[in-house]
Symmetry: C2
Subunit: 308 residues, 2 copies
Amino acid sequence: MKAAYLGPKASFSHQAALEIFRDTPIQVEALPTFADIFEGVQSSQHQYGVVPFENSSNGSVVQLLDLLADRQMKYNDVKVCAEHYLPVHHQLLVRLSGQDAWRQSGLEEALTHVKKFYTHPQAWGQCSAFLSRNDCKHIVRQDCASTSEAARVVSENEAGTCAAIASNLAAEEYGLARLADSIEDKGDNTTRFFIVAKADITLPKSALQNGVGSSGIYKSLVSFTIDHDSPGTLADALSIFKMHHFNLTSINTRPSRLRPWHYIFFAECEQKHYQNQADAITNLISDLEHVAMSCRNLGSWEDQLEPV
Amino acid sequence: MKAAYLGPKASFSHQAALEIFRDTPIQVEALPTFADIFEGVQSSQHQYGVVPFENSSNGSVVQLLDLLADRQMKYNDVKVCAEHYLPVHHQLLVRLSGQDAWRQSGLEEALTHVKKFYTHPQAWGQCSAFLSRNDCKHIVRQDCASTSEAARVVSENEAGTCAAIASNLAAEEYGLARLADSIEDKGDNTTRFFIVAKADITLPKSALQNGVGSSGIYKSLVSFTIDHDSPGTLADALSIFKMHHFNLTSINTRPSRLRPWHYIFFAECEQKHYQNQADAITNLISDLEHVAMSCRNLGSWEDQLEPV
């Protein structure tokens, strides 16, 4: 049994996959794109896929929405079967050297030697308070394709004049030392991951051991398109969720690409656990079909969000 | 009177601004960021701002949604006062030279001399059919910050071995020649722009002369937040649009950044023109206030979409 995550190695998706499958015999494997992961699951090369769905500060990941939209009907059987919340912490990392005492003498001293920071563009924004410190402002910033790529580049910098903003997992993977911990602005910055699988595959009981356990709340994701020329259809479609006692929690929109200004909607909804969870969503879809041009059940899973 | 558009010069926003204000005495001026444009309008340095809201293939522009969310309440008076649709065409551009006959001998011949393409990352995806031609596949691709930046770089390439994918306006601005016209995959690829202004400023009658004229349909944009712990609130909020005879046409969602998994919703709605257009939206907002935690009227304007 194999689970694919969005690579490269030491990415936040990798960290999520390790947490999810820690207590299972399932092997985790990096794939380069979202599409590779969906193809891997659809073709049963991989039983599971781990993909980021949204970040608490940056919002939805449109690349994932576009794959879930499945405009070419290539991933008919791929559904969401679980979710996982990963707190996102950024560390300032350098390559250690036995010769240069300054690299081990703390942040202030080390920063006077650092000439260049490397990270993924999103991380600059997430660490803006740290980066506006007086002793950071002069340091040049270089974009990388991922935070783990930043760590890899810095691991090859023998002079130690480069520092990466990346995760603890990336620090481990590339043998880097932490100059500063959790330099992100918002301590509650969190990414929500989806675990996708074919409809008939469920997560092993030993997975998600570090989740919140049995919340009793079930979430579902439903996609649908409507006839935009018929006034009131979107409101009608959304009212069906209420009629079936589903609480609508979020809505996302992407272009359907059938024609301009025609959209595919993603509605996420939740319901306290009933005996007949599967029936409830089947009945919802059946009523939605009368109002929508097309609609699809993209899966149901147990809520893993820590109660506030 | 001045209108700010999202720069650099020769960007698609520049083209939109020129079209919108062509028959007016209003001067158009490039500003580097969305925030600069909102600040310019809020401070009355600029009477109007021209900003992309969504593209028919790529969807919403989240940077604009984040400014309309106005989480720090810095742009209280900035509202949408009009929309403009701009067809997006991409041209393959090179620097002409009197000495090299091949540069003027047509696409096939010229492509054998081109070593590198330059454009904005979004444009690769929008021109994928052209770029997968056999005589294009071997050509290296270099990302640029904008399509007009790509044109600028290519205008300095005396050897003529570089080509830019950019607009006709960029070709004019940098004196480049077209090797191939409209190389985008989808001929109907269109970007919708918003014109923002302070609430008491309307567009001059001579603006938008190339629009569809009087459609009789008014669109409005409303943002709101809800208490996610109260089940059914999102559905209730959306049903108020129907109650007030507004047809809900699209919904966008961004993180509110108050706390994780709390959202700000943007609902766009339309209504046939009534005598009391302004009253209708005021009444809608007043009812929405009873259900939502916060809500805001972000402006109303006449529909400019060509009927299909």
